[in-house]
């Protein structure tokens, strides 16, 4: 990794190579043990990237640290995609859904922070979108709304309204977030277009039976729900 500090171009080449290998294994037909092995490779590589980012931050190389953020998150997307495929093969459909949503959410961060021509990412965006349409049933979502009373900035820890950092932007390899520390819940509603697709309806009640929406398997009866 030391060579990358001297020449980030090498890092970009390695990123492209590693991503291409992982993408070749992200098909439902590929052996589960090969996909599990690739997940381990990606997890370890993400850890290496985190150490490299620390070095860039120590050297105050903000652009390089931000580039590593984008690479780390790109590999996380691939990791989640592979984990989704593995969970499907293991008949763990709720977990598979959660991994797909994780992949979509992290990919949004990649697109927002990608320093190169973002058109090349369009195909992958469609791929993740198509998984949702082809592999999973139409789901129903919920959305919570409320009044934020206090929040702070993840970068400087000050009141989010008082600092100049902007949510979703990168600062020395870290994405700025608004951390809500006090909120009053106002409502929970059913929505078609949720901000958080993890927040979904899990079961339905039919003929006194509780049915898992994802698998259509009976979870319990209403008598013992």
């Amino acid at each position: 990794m030391k060579a990358f500090i001297e020449n980030p171009e090498l890092l970009i080449n390695e990123f492209n190579k590693m991503a291409a290998i992982a993408q070749k294994k992200a098909f439902i037909t590929v052996g589960i043990e090969i996909q599990q092995e690739e997940i381990e490779v990606l997890i370890n590589y993400i850890k290496e990237l985190a150490s490299l980012k620390k070095e860039f931050v120590e050297k105050k190389l903000g652009n390089e640290a931000n580039l590593i953020f984008t690479f780390e998150n790109s590999f996380k997307v691939l990791q989640y995609e592979l984990e989704m495929l593995v969970f499907i093969k293991q008949d763990k459909m709720a977990e598979a859904w959660d991994k797909l949503v994780d992949a979509q959410v992290v990919f949004e961060n990649v697109v927002r922070t990608y320093p190169f021509e973002a058109n090349s990412l369009k195909g992958y965006l469609e791929r993740l979108n198509n998984y949702e349409k082809l592999l999973f049933p139409k789901l129903h979502f919920q959305s919570a709304g409320g009044i934020i009373k206090e929040s702070k900035c993840s970068i400087c820890d000050n009141d989010y309204d008082k600092c100049d950092h902007l949510k979703g932007k990168l600062y020395m390899g870290e994405m700025c977030c608004r951390i809500i520390t006090e909120m009053e819940l106002e409502e929970v509603s059913y929505v078609e277009n949720p901000a958080n697709k993890h927040c979904r309806v899990l079961t339905i009640e039919m003929n006194e039976k509780i049915i898992d929406i994802m698998t259509l398997r009976q979870k319990s009866t209403t008598a013992n729900k």
């Binding site: 990649v110 959305s143 949720p194």
Partner: protein
Amino acid sequence: MDYKIEEIELAGYIEKLGINYPEGLCFFPENIDSAKDKSDFIFTDSVSDLSKVFKQNNINISKLGGDSKLLRSRKNADFFAPAIFFSLSLISENPSIVSLSLSVLANHITDFFKGSFSRKKVNLDIYVETSGKKKIQKIAYSGNVEGIEKLAEVIKSIK
């Protein structure tokens, strides 16, 4: 472009709340017509980001009633923009401020939607002072990002 225009009587609310009548460019709370006191004001949570973005673009904008701690957050994939007020004096002195402000807003929302998988819908209320303190037109817009900049023409037509 999907929008509705209605005339509202703002001076009465402002007087009741005991706050200064807004001048220039100003973010309005969502509950301007029902708040009993300025401390009850609830702004759309995107007001925090847009205050910073406007400042970065050297556009002076304030919040009606000064700082408010209450922000409404909706965990919805649509973008809810804070209501924006344009005073008559500002539009007269600086006619380009409307298109400039809407362009800054549209760019911010375009960034927000980058990489988004969901439908990209924006909800935005604009208050325009048309003839002195008594007459305010409220434009309630709901549509895509591209439509925001076109609202400048709508504002020009009702001014």
